[in-house]
């Protein structure tokens, strides 16, 4: 199950459509880290609305993606973590520390607009 990656202007958007195997998640990671340079993207949105469960491997991979993208000079925001998924994550002990999150796509886009403007104006 490959995750489609869309180019939205200066951003990339990966929209997870269903449960993913560990191999799918690693594939997504490699594709995003590669494409953020190829398209000179300033930001990446990963939409996890459709994810059934965020277990430790998924959380680690999303956190790795955000940090790798950061080293490539762009920002990442994870959007759409559902209430049930958030509750199970925190009980498991998964906090995605240091990773930006937003309620949904709209908020995620607003976050990137601000953070990339910020970055441009020398903040961070």
């Amino acid at each position: 199950m490959e995750v489609p990656i869309l180019k939205l202007g200066a951003y990339l958007m990966a929209s997870i459509q269903s449960a993913l195997t560990d191999a799918d998640l690693l594939h997504l990671r490699d594709a995003l880290v590669d494409q953020v340079g190829r398209f000179r993207s300033r930001g990446v949105i990963v939409d996890v609305t459709a994810l059934d469960v965020m277990d430790s491997f998924a959380a680690r991979t999303l956190s790795d993606i955000a940090h790798m993208i950061r080293l490539r000079g762009a920002d990442t925001v994870i959007v759409g973590i559902q209430p049930d998924v958030a509750m199970a994550m925190v009980q498991l002990g998964l906090r995605l520390e240091g990773v930006a999150t937003a309620l949904d796509l709209e908020e995620g886009l607003a976050f990137l607009a601000r953070s990339t403007r910020e970055r441009i104006s020398g903040g961070a």
Partner: protein, 134 residues
């Protein structure tokens, strides 16, 4: 007695199958959506440990009753290398692989009952239960 479902675990994809079946059985057993997700997450963790550390094993799912309470029994077992020091393995942040090391202690937090037994060279069995809120 309720039928038991046995899910063989030998690959990445079986982790998904097991947690999706677990969610379905939990839903039929009367768990709400929040608890279904919690159960699926717990199954995902123990199933991945089987693939990663023991290569192969199985997950058993069985609806259970205690008086009028409904619950779900999940057993994850393998004949892999076993865990030499269970106290260490149950600590947050302890991993011999490249995980966060939250799998086992986190799974214990997700479930109502949690037991782990392991014999080096013979394998590992995790037995856990969750009770539906009435």
């Amino acid at each position: 007695m309720e039928p038991e479902i046995a899910v063989p675990i030998t690959s990445d994809a079986d982790i998904l199958t097991a947690r999706q079946l677990g969610r379905q059985v939990a839903a039929r057993t009367g768990f709400g959506e929040g608890d279904q997700t919690v159960i699926a997450a717990a199954i995902s963790e123990v199933a991945r440990n089987i693939v990663r550390y023991a290569t192969r094993g199985e997950i058993l799912l069985r609806p259970i009753n205690h008086g009028s309470r409904r619950g779900l029994l999940v057993v994850a077992r393998d004949q892999g290398p076993g865990i030499p020091d269970l106290t260490l393995a149950m600590q947050d942040g302890y991993s011999t692989g490249n995980g966060f090391g939250v799998g086992l202690p986190g799974t214990r937090r997700l479930m109502d009952e949690f037991e782990i037994a392991s014999e080096p060279g013979r394998g590992t069995t995790v037995t856990m239960r969750k009770w539906a809120r009435s």
